[in-house]
């Protein structure tokens, strides 16, 4: 008997990652897409197209799991509200089920990253695991005693929208907040702070890139920081400290065993996590601050995709 397999799809704010996932969580036949435009129909078509590509490689898949950057209504599988994609009000599960002719399971992308890390990754075995996904925005997921915490109506664990600076800048996308962790410490924030540092420190490697007309993205800043450029390292330290302030609130409010940090921006690794741990050690309440491990995601950028597959495997089994 061939192993049971599903497709996992993670749709972030700027791109889609997907793959065929066996029930031992081995990933193959990966698919990638970048959003070409902002229109709802284009986004939905691109998602269907990506699923069909993966399915062509593995026609025996039993179901599809989706992580979407939305508040997802657990009853209906609809996208109630999305900060980053034009999916507000889209009956996502029903619509995709109809277009794909397969059982479809859907949840918030960061929830599913948390699920992957808690089931088989860096939070393995933790009773109370918190996940932060650093990308275009910041997603959050909380797993307590093996189950995702979704809040009273599915809107919980939006940990990217915990406030770190009440007088901070307006938040990103459709979030009406100010000084949310997301606008202060996401991959987007790394790029923004990087551009400012490049302008200020024109002799740095970062400054040279700016003079040569390169776009200062979070990815570029991270790359230069790993190469040892002090300006780029300073940016990751600043962002890591802000991340640490957000974690202080999380540690004091949730008393987690572990905070796992994933998403594309965790490419910064210890350059982000070391200052974050320092701020938690300095500012969070004892003994909670001593009980929490702060670690990078085992599944890296693929946590959301693997979690989407786990959702389909677990819920499809019932």
């Amino acid at each position: 008997m061939s192993p049971r397999r599903v497709i996992g799809i993670d749709t972030g704010g700027t791109k889609l990652l997907g793959g065929v996932v066996d029930d031992d969580l081995a990933v193959r036949d990966r698919v990638h897409r970048l959003w070409r435009g902002g229109e709802r129909q284009e986004v939905l078509d691109l998602i269907v197209d990506a699923v069909e590509e993966a399915r062509a490689a593995a026609p025996d898949v039993a179901a599809v799991g989706f992580g979407i950057p939305s508040l997802v209504d657990r009853e209906t599988g609809a996208s109630a509200f999305s900060v980053h994609l034009p999916l507000d009000g889209v009956p996502f599960r029903d619509l995709m089920g109809e277009r794909l002719g397969l059982p479809v399971f859907v949840d918030n992308d960061a929830n599913l990253a948390a699920l992957a890390e808690q089931r088989a990754g860096a939070a393995g075995g933790a009773r109370r695991a918190v996940m932060l996904t650093l990308g275009t925005g910041i997603g959050g997921g909380v797993v307590v005693d093996g189950a995702l915490e979704r809040g009273a109506h599915g809107g919980g664990a939006e940990l990217g929208h915990v406030v770190v600076d009440m007088d901070g800048p307006p938040c990103q996308g459709d979030c009406p907040g100010r000084g949310c962790l997301e606008v202060m410490a996401s991959g987007t924030a790394i790029g923004r702070e990087g551009a400012e540092a490049a302008a200020r420190q024109s002799d740095s490697a970062l400054g040279r890139e700016l003079r040569e007309g390169r776009a200062i993205t979070g990815g570029l800043v991270t790359e230069l920081a790993h190469d040892g450029d002090p300006a780029a390292c300073g940016v990751l330290e600043l962002i890591g400290e802000r991340l640490g302030v957000g974690m202080v609130s999380i540690v004091n409010a949730f008393n987690p065993d572990v905070i796992v940090v994933g998403g594309g921006a965790i490419a910064g690794g210890e350059l982000l996590l070391e200052p974050a741990r320092r701020v938690v050690a300095e500012r969070a309440l004892p003994p909670s601050r001593d009980q929490v491990r702060i670690v990078p995601a085992d599944f890296g950028e693929e946590a959301g995709m693997v979690g989407a597959a786990i959702l389909a495997l677990e819920e499809g089994r019932v």
Copy 2:
């Protein structure tokens, strides 16, 4: 048969409230104490003294429930860490059990206030209820599906130590944080901001009190605000807005059905809650912000005491 009754004791940062509570939650034979000194032994003696006073009025009590402003180890009933009382490391349950010769139950004071409001108060019936107690400090409690959320090791729901301003002032008591909700919006903060407003606005009623040498406490500011003094009203509006920022993080992270605000400082009532609701409506994520009720505690200052009694009634029944 006489109803089953217990003693409930709530020990806050500056005072103790207690009473004899029947199993229909009627409170009688109230006892009060103010802390006379900061020493551990004095505090413990005062607590025993208060319990004995209540017990003299109702010798048939079956147990004593305590709310203490500490992180409480649920296994041992010990006070692991307290921001406001010298109880770090005190084996509270065992020590009180020995001194009183009665079954003793103990939990964090704000947890118990949350329990009271969820069982029989302003959060009655809510699946997901959050409690904030505004007093010397700010305590937090979260009740999900009828059970208190305590975090992986009992350190959870310290919602007074959610950060609202990363560059804010050092927090109170033994909290190592900066710009925590507690230092920005507690009863103590009302007094501190009130003193500043009195100095700036010397023609106001608040300013007159300062000139006449009165101590500007949170209680005095609240009293003058209810009398319509613009300076005092401005202070409560400022504090209410900060409270709202803390609630934005809570709404986004927990997606609660209700946030109940209690503690002594809720004497400010709508003068605090109206600006807090406004900030939540402006800054928190939809639809969570529309799903949360923000209401004053039904049990007012007595929520912690009633919750302590409920703990003893419920756990004593097992």
